[in-house]
Amino acid sequence: MNLQDFLAMEESRERDELIDLRSLDLVSEYDSHLMCPICHCPFVEPVRLQCDHVFCGSCLSSAINSFRSADSDEFPCPSCRNPTQKVSASVPRLLINMCDEIRVLCPLITEGCQEIIPRGHVQSHVEKYCGYRLLPCPDNSCDQMTRSKDVGMDQKCIHKVRRCAHCKENVLEHEYEEHEKELCPVLEVTCADCETVVTRGALQEHIESCPEVAIPCAASKYACPVKIRRADIAAHEQSCPIVAMGPYFETQNARLKSLESSMRHLQQRNEIFEDGLANIRSTLFESTRLGANSHSGGQPPQSDREQQSSARVDAHTDDPADLAAGVFSSNATTYLLSLHESLREEVSQLSHAITDLDARASMAIMNECMRIKEDIAHTNAAVNSVRMQVQWLMNPRLHQGTRGGAVRPSSTESEGTRTNMASSVAGPSHATGQSLGPLRPRRPSDSGREGTKL
């Protein structure tokens, strides 16, 4: 048939399906070839495509609806994507039978049905045979539902309430018989021991006080084997030696308990001490080994090893004297070691302080130098300005002097006055040269000027 017909058929079929076969609980394993690749359940009403792929009819119709492009008469197979136009309802009978044979739980398991049935029979089981299917009450005036197994041969309503003649309680019709025979609290029963007749409700109370019921002796927890009638128990307890011993046992028990608890306490403390001792031992061993190592720094390695092993023996020996000696020697070495350590620390502190001081001193020197350099620059500037002034003051005189000198050779002045003149001219220039001398000893221009002046 073509797709349209198939879809129409599926549409109409879905309505008369009561039970969802896919939601059943499967009891048996089934062959994976029986699984629909779309819903992953055993096939339900399978159909076949041209490519021989099989699907549940309903699964295929939803696949067609979601894969077919608007009303074309073709769609891709959900397994192999081959374009498909025809759907065939003729699936091998064998396949359908195998699917129908799969064992499932009755879906009314929620109501109490425990039956396991082939899947093919589920529909009819639920409709006709299941004792837990709900039927309308046979009495037309009652609108309640009844489990089919509760509808008796007499077809009467079980929802009617009947009042118990003894206890005045309201009981459902179909439970009345059970109530009357076994459950009614007013029902009279006889005590199995004293044959007194009491009501069911009071039986428990009676058993607790019945003189005929055998009860154990009060000292049963201290192993009195006697178990006799309540009426006689008082007499027994009077004479029972174990009852007489009772208070003694009790105090003994209490003592044992307190001893046990203190034992436990002591054990805990002991464990703590042992731990502490082990810690101390291991630290001792460490330090003696360290000490041995540092002492034998210069010695040959063989004696080093000897000392180590002896230290180990010391640490492991249980002889208290040896241990004490070990403790003492190791105490001394640890003391020396710590002293060494603190000295080393002091030295490093000192060296720190020294570098600090060094840095500070050089800083101060630098600062001082800067200051002095500035001062010198100031002085230089002052000296320069003074020199300029002197030069300025000297210039006119020098001009005069040269003018006079140029005239003098032609004149008839004596050699003596000329030298006098020259010395008087050179005098002040000498003085400036000398005052500048110590400050700027190598000014070539100065000496040159002096030369020219002389």
Partner: protein, 152 residues
């Protein structure tokens, strides 16, 4: 609502006998459509030793529409978008190639297979695909680096 039954069936199968290097659980116990998958990098790939968180979302039309797979853990791979989505969409995951008969297990195995054998001709990250084709060593180096940084 047939899809919920199939999905929970597949989930049970996957948790009872998980495929190699793949563990699945629901992201939220009350929603069977969102799965959290931990995928271990295959030994033969530069993603080895990495544990990648993969999100698998099933459409309500499942199995008639394909699930979507996205890497929540950053991964350097030509077929996984290098953004916060980290989506992977090719081959059987494409809507026009999806078959309702394919199982989620097959989808996850396909995704893991893609880690050891990327498909550069079908890439979403062209640059990585180029590198994968022309400079395999560098690609593996970067992928390993990313794995170490993001997936360990």
């Amino acid at each position: 609502m047939g899809s919920i039954k199939r999905i929970s069936k597949e989930l049970t199968e996957l948790t009872e006998s998980p495929p190699e290097g793949i563990t699945v659980e629901l992201a939220d116990e009350s929603n069977v459509y969102e799965w959290k998958v931990i995928m271990e990098g295959p030994e033969s790939s530069p993603y080895y030793n990495g544990k990648f968180l993969v999100k698998l979302s099933l459409p309500t039309e499942y199995p008639f529409k394909p699930p979507t797979v996205s890497f929540a853990t950053k991964i350097y791979h030509p077929n996984v978008t290098n953004d916060e989505k980290g989506s992977m969409c090719l081959g059987m995951l494409r809507a026009d190639e999806w078959k309702p008969s394919s199982k989620i297990a097959a989808v996850l195995q396909f995704a893991r297979q893609l880690l050891s054998e990327p498909m550069p001709d079908d890439a979403v990250e062209g640059r990585i695909a180029e590198q994968y084709k022309n400079d395999r060593g560098r690609y593996e180096e970067v992928a390993r680096e990313w794995t170490r940084k993001h997936a360990c």
